[in-house]
Amino acid sequence: MHEITQILLSPQGDGCDSEELMPLVYNDLRRMAAARMASEAQGQTLQPTALVHDAWLRMFGNGDRRWQNRGHFFGEATEAMRRILIERARRKSRLKHGHGWVRLDIDDLSLAEATPDDKVLLINEALEHLEAEDPERAKVVVMKFFGGLTNQEVAKILGVAERTVERQWAFAKAWLFQNIREQI
């Protein structure tokens, strides 16, 4: 992580192009994705690569990208992961419920009957409300929930105390849950 920031903030410019960053960032993304998918269950073969490739294409597919700092970078990376995971949840939810317009279906659900994919979609909707009110806290949620980063990692990325992240995360979860309840 440290190496990337050095390159990002090198005196040569206020950023650098994606080619140079690629190997370093790719490893970090992989590590992030692997941490995301570390599993307690035995015997599962996990493939972080698929998710990372997707995220990478999202971020770099449009050509050169520049970031100002690691917070910016990881913010975008975790947002990319969020979009991918939400798409997949939508797809699976659609398969299960057989309707085309998932947003309508969610309104009909009660939390007890929702599948985990439905719940993820509900969380995402609530998260959109949080983003409108408080983008900073919403970012913590994206990094932790979709990015799978630890409190320590988030704290380093955002340049705050670990305690702060822990506090914000606990609060955000309760806030989001409350918001979901008000919706359905």
């Binding site: 698929a50 009957e113 599948t115 719940k119 009110e133 929930f145």
Partner: protein
């Protein structure tokens, strides 16, 4: 950062760390002072705190497993079957799944370890997806009081019911380890007298249930397990309360097309049960099923061959 939210967050954070309700109240009094709006908000958040944690833990795991390539054979199979199988070590409520021991029309049965209020082994049956969980649990709850009052050596107790992470209903029962009655009789080459003695015990059990107002509704050999106590065979009737709870109302579907999906097995269903879709039946349906069971115990076949229904 939003100032209102920051204040809420601060108070919420301090309050949730106070386990003692009196301390918490006192703190909230001081912190919120005369800001009643703040108090209401924080109390609302505190009340959902643990549910929120559960929700996020559950969904985090779901996201984690969905992050695999969705085209993988395992994921495709999961989607096709409509849900994952419980793995050994999985936690469902206070119960830890140990091992799968069987599969029925309704779902799979596992041995599980109960942790609270005491440690013991139980049987845990998870009902397949496709059954309306809330309705199932509600129906079970309605009977739970009566079920709890049943206390008979030939009846396996139903202990608890709930819903798994993926929203499927589960039932927790006294663990009965043994052989289904028809197999037991055949394997041990029981003569007519011995078979009748086992049958009489089952009748006593059903009688006990009927006196408590419980109808089993699904009496068949696979629901009667023979265990050994001090070397003596003891038949136990299992799955009380479950048939009623999981019963979906049948419409005008015929027996022929529903052979495998009927709750209650066609060969053992009384005519009124099969015909009206299981509604409006009473204890006599159980008696009918007992009759079929007796027939099978004595002859090795059911009176109506389930392959060619003639009702």
């Amino acid at each position: 950062m939003d100032d209102t939210l920051s204040r809420e967050e601060e108070v919420f954070d301090a309050a949730r760390k106070l386990d003692d309700p009196a301390e918490r109240e006192a703190y909230l009094d001081r912190a919120c002072d005369d800001d009643s709006k703040l108090r209401v908000r924080v109390e609302a958040l505190l009340s959902v705190h643990s549910h929120a944690e559960e929700l996020f833990t559950e969904c985090f795991s779901a996201l984690r497993s969905s992050a695999d390539n969705p085209e993988s054979p395992a994921a495709a199979r999961d989607l096709a079957q409509g849900g994952e199988e419980e793995q050994p070590g999985a936690q469902i409520g206070h119960y830890k799944i140990l091992q799968r021991i069987g599969e029925g029309g309704c779902g799979a049965v596992y041995t599980a370890e109960q942790e609270k209020p005491m440690r013991r082994l139980v049987a845990l049956k998870v009902i397949k997806l496709g059954m309306d969980t809330r309705a199932v649990i509600a129906r079970f709850d309605a009977e739970r009081q009566a079920l709890a009052m049943m206390d008979h050596p030939n009846i396996a107790k139903v202990l608890d019911a709930g819903a798994t992470h993926s929203g499927r209903p589960y039932f927790v029962m006294e663990l009965v380890r043994g052989t289904r009655i028809t197999d037991y009789c055949d394997q041990n080459q029981l003569d007519t007298r011995d078979r009748l003695e086992l049958f009489i015990q089952i009748c006593h059990a059903i009688q006990h249930a009927h006196q408590k107002g419980i109808i089993h509704r699904d009496i068949k050999p696979s629901n009667i397990i023979v265990t050994l106590h001090d070397g003596l065979p003891v038949p136990k009737v299992i799955d009380f309360g479950i048939a009623k709870a999981t019963e979906a109302p049948l419409t005008d579907k015929t027996l022929l097309t529903l052979q495998n999906q009927l709750i209650g097995t066609p060969a053992y269903m009384s005519p009124e049960q099969a015909g009206t879709g299981g509604l409006d039946i009473d204890t006599r349906s159980d008696i009918y099923s007992l009759g079929v069971l007796l027939y099978e115990l004595l002859t090795g076949k059911t009176p109506f061959d389930s392959r060619t229904p003639d009702i």
